[in-house]
């Protein structure tokens, strides 16, 4: 056992029984006590009835990736007792509802069982059948508070915030909390050998999920037209956008909406609307997951070739096909990098925290308008749907939207030879016009068929080549605009490195720390965007072995690196994790160790 502020608690619940808010309450209380915490929901594609889990890792060191090995399992779901008991670490604890006796065959000699009669306690204390059910969850939070030394007043404070305006709900919640806490006090010794001790490590942090953060980024980035089709795990991004917009985007005089959200008939229409709106000069995005990306392929090609801005968020989930809709992966990289038929390529951004979801989302609108090509924000279920401890959001009030090369009526008046697809500045990005700008100048015909510099239909081979070659130049320009990598090097640089991105970051950084502490010298690089800059190329070239850490089977990031940077494949070693759960540092370390890797001292 680890001791203070370093352990994992896992909750096993039945989907649809109100456990999620109780479990979040537990995690939030630890966060409020100043201790870094990560909470990961492992849930089924189901509304009610199937098993669901919630993992909380407490880490004084601030390691927020998933960790293997359960120190304390809280199980209120007999369906999964057997496997839940089996998953507890030797010497660990299993807390269960002892209203019904546990089958003897489930018992293990090497773990401790903590039986609390949750149902019995609730049946005695509450009369309303719904409360009897819901407060079971609060009773076990109360028990945990006692066992793990959580501060009851902190939890009371959270109730007060949660039930603001409905204050009479605070009393029964506190009653349930006390029931659990008192039961532990009179039946068990407490705290356990691992527990929470107050710290000051989360003072300047916030706790939020990536989808809400990205939605807020879209509000701040000036999105006005949002079109979407419901699909897990991207759905909450658009519902969050709408929630924020309803508060922050109303015309102060008329009360009318300075935004619009349309639930489309499918993902094809969702992306079509976003393209139409961007074409017409509004900032517009759509968000999707899984099959949605496949369905949007044709339109991505149109936006690429006719050079229309578009922000698309892909909250990745387990594929292929319907795959594992409620599990996490980073397995849409190759499909997004080159989505659509013909020679296409798209800009991708890889946020790794909710803070980056916010900023990259806002920035994506600038990038896409500066480049006039789609920008895909590559989030995933782990980042999008789980609450993460992250840096607070900051907005520079002097910041202006970078709308790129859009011609005004005045500019059109002074121009003599405007062509929609003429590369005037040599950066591959032409000047565009918005419908309705000028009575007699600037109209042109947008099309997905081959065209010349003046947007006229053309089947001429030389013209075709000129246009696609010029579009390729934009991707060189993109490298100068989109964020470069983040390097993790000590003064004593190594010839080996971990390469990671997005949600592999937490565990990769923990793995680097552990490897270094164990005497192995290793560097790190975090990729933030695609196409890759020369800095990425240089970093890889200057290392002998680079371990590419990603959450898919085929090593898609590795493929992109080989394809785009012409890197010797032998140099890039795949470290993959693709079972649908978030990757752990242990998994990275054990895969790295499989290769020849000698201590430096």
């Amino acid at each position: 056992m680890h001791g203070v502020n370093d352990f994992v608690v896992k909750f096993a619940n039945v989907n649809g029984t109100g456990s999620a808010s109780a479990n979040f309450l537990f995690a939030k209380a630890i966060f409020r006590m100043g201790v870094p915490v990560s909470a990961k929901n492992i849930f089924p594609s189901n509304i009610q009835g199937l098993p669901t889990w919630y993992e909380v890792r407490v880490s004084e060191k601030g390691y927020l990736g998933r960790k293997e090995g359960i120190d304390l399992m809280v199980s209120v779901n007999p369906q999964s007792f057997k496997s839940d008991i089996a998953s507890v670490k030797s010497g660990g604890y299993f807390l269960y509802d002892s209203t019904k006796k546990l089958h003897e065959e489930f018992l293990r000699e090497d773990i401790h069982f903590i039986g609390i009669p949750l149902m019995e306690l609730c049946n005695e204390a509450f009369t309303d059948p719904r409360q009897k059910q819901l407060f079971k969850n609060i009773v076990y939070v109360g028990a945990l508070a006692k066992l793990l030394n959580l501060d009851l007043t902190t939890i009371e404070g959270l109730f007060a915030e949660q039930f603001k305006g409905k204050e009479k709900l605070i009393i029964p919640n506190m009653k349930a909390l006390k029931l659990g806490s008192d039961y532990v006090e009179s039946h068990f010794s407490y705290p356990l050998e691992f527990y929470v001790e107050k710290r000051d490590l989360t003072k300047n942090k916030i706790m939020i999920d990536g989808n809400a953060a990205a939605a807020l980024g879209a509000v701040y980035g000036g999105a006005t037209v949002v079109s979407w089709y419901p699909i897990t795990p991207s759905t909450s991004l658009v519902s969050s956008f709408e929630k924020y917009a309803q508060k922050m985007r109303l015309d102060p005089v008329t009360g009318k909406n300075n935004y619009s959200v349309v639930q489309a008939e499918d993902e094809l229409a969702a992306i079509g609307m976003a393209i139409g709106a961007n074409w017409n000069g509004a900032r517009s995005f759509t968000a999707t997951s899984g099959a949605g990306i496949s369905l949007m392929n044709e339109f991505l090609g149109l936006a690429f070739y006719s050079e229309i801005p578009l922000v698309l968020v892909d909250v990745q989930r387990g594929g292929p096909s319907t795959g594992m809709p409620t599990r996490t992966q980073q397995s849409d990289l190759t499909t997004c990098a080159y989505a659509s038929h013909g020679d296409t390529k798209h800009v991708m951004l890889f946020p790794s925290t909710p803070n980056e979801c916010f900023h990259m989302m806002a920035d994506a609108f600038d990038y896409t308008e500066m480049l006039q090509t789609p920008v895909i924000v590559m989030s995933d279920l782990d980042l999008g749907m789980n609450d993460h401890v992250t840096d607070p959001f900051i907005w520079d009030d002097n910041r202006k939207f970078k709308r790129g090369k859009v011609l005004s009526s005045e500019q059109l008046n002074t121009m003599t030879n405007w062509g929609r697809y003429l590369d005037v500045d040599g950066d591959g990005v032409p000047y565009r016009t918005i419908p309705g700008t000028h009575p007699t100048k600037g109209s042109y015909f947008t099309r997905g068929s081959s065209h010349d510099e003046y947007a006229r239909y053309s089947e001429d081979s030389d013209t075709y080549k000129r246009i696609v070659d010029r579009i390729a130049v934009k991707f060189e320009t993109a490298k100068k605009i989109i964020p470069g990598p983040e390097l993790f090097q000590t003064s004593d640089t190594s010839d080996k490195a971990l390469l990671f991105f997005g949600t592999t970051t937490d565990s990769a950084l923990e793995a680097i720390d552990t490897l270094r502490n164990d005497g192995f010298s290793i560097d790190g690089i975090r990729i933030k965007s695609f196409p890759f800059s020369s800095e990425v190329d240089h970093f890889i070239q200057s290392h002998k072995e680079v371990y590419v850490v990603e959450q898919n089977k085929f090593g898609q990031m590795r493929s992109l690196l080989i394809n785009e940077l012409n890197i010797d494949p032998h140099k890039l070693i795949s470290v993959v994790h693709y079972d649908g759960t978030p990757i752990t540092a242990e998994s990275i370390i054990s895969q790295v160790h499989k290769h020849v890797f000698l201590p430096t001292n």
């Binding site: 037209v225 935004y259 619009s260 139409g276 907005w395």
Partner: protein
């Protein structure tokens, strides 16, 4: 290839009230087959826009893929155009319209583009009552891929190759009415006098205006046995109504030979003089219109004219309660809530 029309024009060509000649509303030379019905529809669009004094830059013309979807190149060369992907014009138009509610949106499509690959998007644009004019140039066949039957080909219609269609044809007008379109008309590309006022009414209407125009394919579907040939449509066309379009502020002269004349005031203040020619239906009663359409279909007749309209039409922006200023004209000031509000949001997540 695209061929521009000569710019030379007679200096004293008449101008409309917006200050433009009719020629200014034209596009490049058509590359469709000589005699194609679609070219007549393009000409009718030019006439309608010229006569309505619409400023060309305030129109966005959109299309999907197919012969019909090529036509936006042949009219309104001074308007922005968007030739999108097959069957997806409605979604692109929806997005464009959401971005700027102040423009006029004119979408053209074909029977393949609408009734097959684009059926999903078509019906959802209808049910959202998107403020646009949607014209289907309906020839019952796929011209660009050499004449295969489309989903609007009538049962029993015989193609040029002698093949008889054994599937039921989709009646787009009946469908649009059922789904809640607020202005539904049917016409024939060969009947300019009927078509032009129908297009004008559609452009003036606030909400989804649908016009199904039977437009014979001279190359693949103009043979004997086809129910979408010039000869067939001329023989089986039954006009149920006729229209005179009276632009905003113009006096309505009151001499009509028809017995039933109903003035319909449009959203923009213009007026349509509606002449009901057939006693068999009531244009404001869906059941009556649907019944007339089904009866006509059974008799292999094509009802033309303004079939249905809804005076109470509420278009998408009204339903979404979007602000009056076009969304694409809002700036940081209206859109960005600023750092102070962000700090409060941060605080709520501590």
């Amino acid at each position: 290839m695209s061929f521009n029309k000569p710019k030379f024009a007679h200096p004293r060509l008449p101008k409309n009230e917006a200050g433009y000649t009719r020629k200014y509303y034209e596009g490049s030379l058509s590359t469709l087959c000589a005699g194609c019905g679609h070219d007549s529809i393009s000409a009718a669009i030019v006439d309608a826009c010229f006569e309505m004094n619409i400023e060309p830059h305030k129109v966005a013309k959109l299309s999907g893929i197919g012969c019909s979807s090529k036509t936006p190149a042949y009219y309104l060369s001074n308007s922005h155009g968007f030739n999108s992907v097959h069957g997806r014009m409605p979604s692109v138009t929806t997005g464009a319209n959401l971005a700027n509610r102040s423009l006029t949106y004119l979408g053209v499509s074909g029977d393949g583009d609408t009734a097959s690959i684009g059926m999903g998007q078509f019906i959802h644009a209808v049910r959202r009552n998107l403020n646009m004019t949607y014209i289907v140039m309906n020839n019952g066949c796929y011209g660009l891929t050499k004449g295969q039957d489309s989903a609007t080909a009538d049962y029993g219609s015989v193609s040029k190759s002698g093949h008889m269609n054994t599937f039921e044809g989709i009646d787009l007008c009946a469908l649009a009415i059922q789904l809640g379109a607020t202005y539904v008309a049917q016409s024939f590309s060969g009947d300019k006098h009927q078509l032009i006022p129908l297009i004008k009414g559609a452009l003036a209407h606030s909400g989804f205006s649908f016009i199904n125009v039977v437009s014979p394919c001279v190359t693949f579907n103009n043979n004997q046995g086809s129910t979408k040939s010039y000869d067939y449509v001329r023989e089986h066309n039954e006009a149920v109504s006729s229209l005179d379009f009276v632009p905003v502020k113009e006096e309505i002269s009151a001499s009509y030979e028809h017995s039933v004349v109903t003035p319909i005031e449009m959203h923009d203040g213009s007026v349509m003089q509606f002449h009901k020619l057939s006693p068999k239906w009531n244009p404001e009663d869906k059941l009556s219109v649907l019944s007339a359409l089904i009866t006509a279909k059974d008799k292999f007749e094509i009802l033309t004219g303004l079939l249905y309209f809804d005076k109470e039409s509420k278009e998408l922006h009204e339903m979404l309660n979007t602000t009056d200023t076009p969304l694409n004209q809002l700036t940081e000031k209206e859109l960005n809530p600023g750092n102070e509000i962000l700090s409060k949001i941060n605080a709520s997540h501590r």
